[in-house]
């Protein structure tokens, strides 16, 4: 390598750029490539920031329906009362500081043929490349009777914000000796360890304030993420307080009656004091409506670039996408945002897309001082995203108290760093 790429690209004068991979991106003098990003969460925020980092000559517009972003990661600590709702709320000034144009509006339509998106506010934006990171929605009819009104009585708290506050409030007003029921969804869903961390966090609160109470996890599955570590943690700190009902043991919730507060399974009916219903999921509405999903309800994408296999120049990242072995997590979305940003920057600037590299880690807190984790580094193999052999895995089953305490510290550290990596 004799000259570095930056000097090389700079040396290039003024009229056309030709991509090394064969599809030229024609840039007219003075115009920049326009990228629109939908959703300012873990995936979209990252993609917007890193597009600007990778090439300041890309014009980035980020469209987010809400004024602020409430983080799901660490929202379970709001539910346990360990932190405030404000502490998981983030604004977009940092992104604006990187030159990202932030628009508060809801995208209602993607026209992939005309390369235009339209918003509820009546605006329309043209794009050369579109990044879609809208997260998840709840499968229609996934749980019978679980409609908008039911959500106000039986919160999911699976999108952070008012729902998180509502679940917290219900726990606070519950009597000692009450039953909290958490309905965990079938795979695949946002944050595989999430419901089980939530059970621990709820139990943490109850054990200090309402020690006669119980937590029952009603599961649509027969096994779950970090099961051994969670079960050991439940036994260590919340013995007898948390019960897990597998699908095989009639754990799967099929319907609710919000008026009477009833939770229905195949063979039984329950009336818990607090019902936290986490319904079956699919990609967010905008992805479904734009024809980005397939029969699975999620968005198939080229695993190297995250470009949709159904619409050209549209990139889907985060929970909404199908990403091989990667779980639907904040760290996955962050990692995917960087891969998609590099893919777009490479095309715009006419260089070769680098070999993708992806990572995920999910920390969970059993108590504020007792953390566990699962991690993996991923690579592309025969067009599929697979874990690197020998890498990653779970925290050891046998670990010292010091190790668990250090992991709890590093879990919080992860939260601060990833938030800074997205919004800072």
């Amino acid at each position: 390598m004799s000259i570095n790429r930056r000097e090389f690209v700079k040396a290039l004068g003024t009229a056309t750029a030709v991509s090394a991979v064969g599809f030229p991106f024609i840039v007219q003098a003075g115009t920049k490539a326009k990228v629109v990003v939908i959703g300012a969460g873990y995936g979209g925020g990252t993609a917007a920031k890193y597009l600007r980092k990778y090439s300041p000559d890309i014009d980035v517009t980020l469209i987010e329906k809400d004024k602020h972003f409430y983080s799901c990661p660490f929202s379970n600590e709001v539910i346990s009362g360990e932190r405030s709702l404000d502490s998981i709320r983030f604004g977009f000034d940092g992104l604006a500081g990187h030159g990202v144009k932030v628009v508060t509006d809801m995208v209602t339509d993607i026209d992939a043929a005309k390369k235009t998106v339209k918003t509820q506010g009546g605006k329309s934006f043209k794009y050369d490349y579109l990044v879609v990171s809208p997260g998840v929605s709840f499968k229609p009819g996934g749980i019978e009777g679980y409609d908008e009104a039911a959500m106000e009585k039986m919160p999911h708290a699976w999108k952070a914000g008012p729902q998180t506050a509502l679940l917290r409030k219900q726990l606070e007003s519950m009597k000692d000796g009450g039953v909290v029921m958490i309905a965990a969804p079938p795979n695949p869903f946002r944050c595989p360890p999430g419901p089980y961390e939530r059970a621990a966090q709820v139990a943490h609160y109850l054990s200090h304030h309402k020690p006669k109470s119980k937590v029952i996890i009603m599961d649509a599955k027969d096994k779950f993420s970090k099961q051994g570590l969670f079960t050991a943690g439940y036994n260590k700190f919340y013995k007898g307080m948390i019960e897990w009902r597998s699908a095989a043991n009639d754990g799967r919730v099929l319907g609710v009656d919000a008026k009477t507060g009833t939770v229905m399974t195949e063979f039984d009916e329950h009336t818990p004091d607090v019902a936290n219903i986490i319904p079956p999921q699919r990609a967010a509405a905008i992805a479904v409506n734009a024809g980005l999903t397939n029969d699975s309800g999620w968005c198939p994408v080229d695993q190297r670039t995250f470009e949709s296999t159904q619409h050209k120049d549209v990139y889907v990242i985060g929970d909404a996408s199908i990403a091989g072995k990667m779980p639907k997590s904040g760290y996955s979305a962050n990692s995917q945002g960087k891969v998609a940003a590099a893919a777009i920057a490479a095309q715009v600037t006419g260089v070769k897309m680098p070999e993708p590299s992806y990572v995920n880690t999910c920390y969970s807190l059993i108590t504020p001082d007792y953390g566990i984790s699962v991690a993996m580094v991923y690579r592309l193999q025969n067009g599929q995203i697979v874990g690197v052999k020998g890498a990653g895995g779970l925290s050891p089953m046998k670990a010292s108290e010091d190790t668990r305490e250090a992991e709890a510290l590093y879990a919080r550290s992860w939260f601060y760093n990833i938030i800074a990596d997205i919004y800072g």
Binding site: G350, Y410, S413
Partner: protein, 195 residues
């Protein structure tokens, strides 16, 4: 460190002009930015995971290799390091070595720090780590401005004979033996107070 095939690009491109400038070496960014979720953008950690921005390149390479080979214990780094090959480790080490060091923002207890300074001198840490925690030896990491919590945890690992630490850290096992947690905190606060 892959060849970027620039000459081929030049030829295919024919007339090349007006290309928007790419700011970054995308290959190095791709691999290095996987770390940022835990170590902060460009390695400037804002949590208690260590700052890795501006670390010595050799130290970074050696440390990643040690984690990979199980020669250095970590709560998570062994699991992460095993995901990268030698070339990738070289790329990311070069990348992070090229970033500016950013001192950890943290509260320092000045009384503790004063006690730590005495220990630093009396116990002979100064011999390798320099007067203020910045070593003249490139592969001895900077302690000045590193996270105190991280340093306490690391020193406890040095103390614990059951924990794997690399041969170069072995002298510290003896030196730190028998020191109380309070002493370790004092040392960490001294290093944290240095910039």
């Amino acid at each position: 460190m892959k060849t970027r095939n620039l000459s081929a690009l030049l030829i295919t491109a024919g007339l090349l002009a007006g290309a928007p400038a790419v700011a970054a070496d995308l290959d190095a960014e791709m691999i290095s930015n996987t770390c940022a979720g835990c170590h902060g953008t460009d390695g400037a950690s804002v949590g208690q995971a260590p700052v890795i921005a501006g670390m010595n390149e050799m130290y970074l390479m050696q440390t990643m290799q040690n984690y990979k080979d199980g020669l250095r214990y970590g709560t998570i780094m062994e699991r992460i390091a095993r995901g990268y090959d030698k070339g990738q480790i070289m790329d990311m080490s070069k990348h992070y070595a090229g970033q500016p060091w950013v001192n950890a923002e943290q509260e320092v207890d000045s009384a503790l720090a004063a006690k730590g300074k005495q220990l630093h001198m009396a116990k002979g840490c100064v011999g390798c780590h320099g007067a203020n925690g910045i070593s003249p030896i490139p592969t001895t990491p900077r302690l000045a401005g590193q996270y105190a919590d991280y340093m306490v945890i690391t020193m406890q690992q040095y103390q614990n004979p059951k924990v794997a630490i690399p041969p170069v850290a072995m002298p510290m096992r003896g030196m730190l033996a028998g020191m109380s947690e309070e002493d370790l905190k004092a040392l960490a606060h001294f290093y944290a107070s240095q910039k």
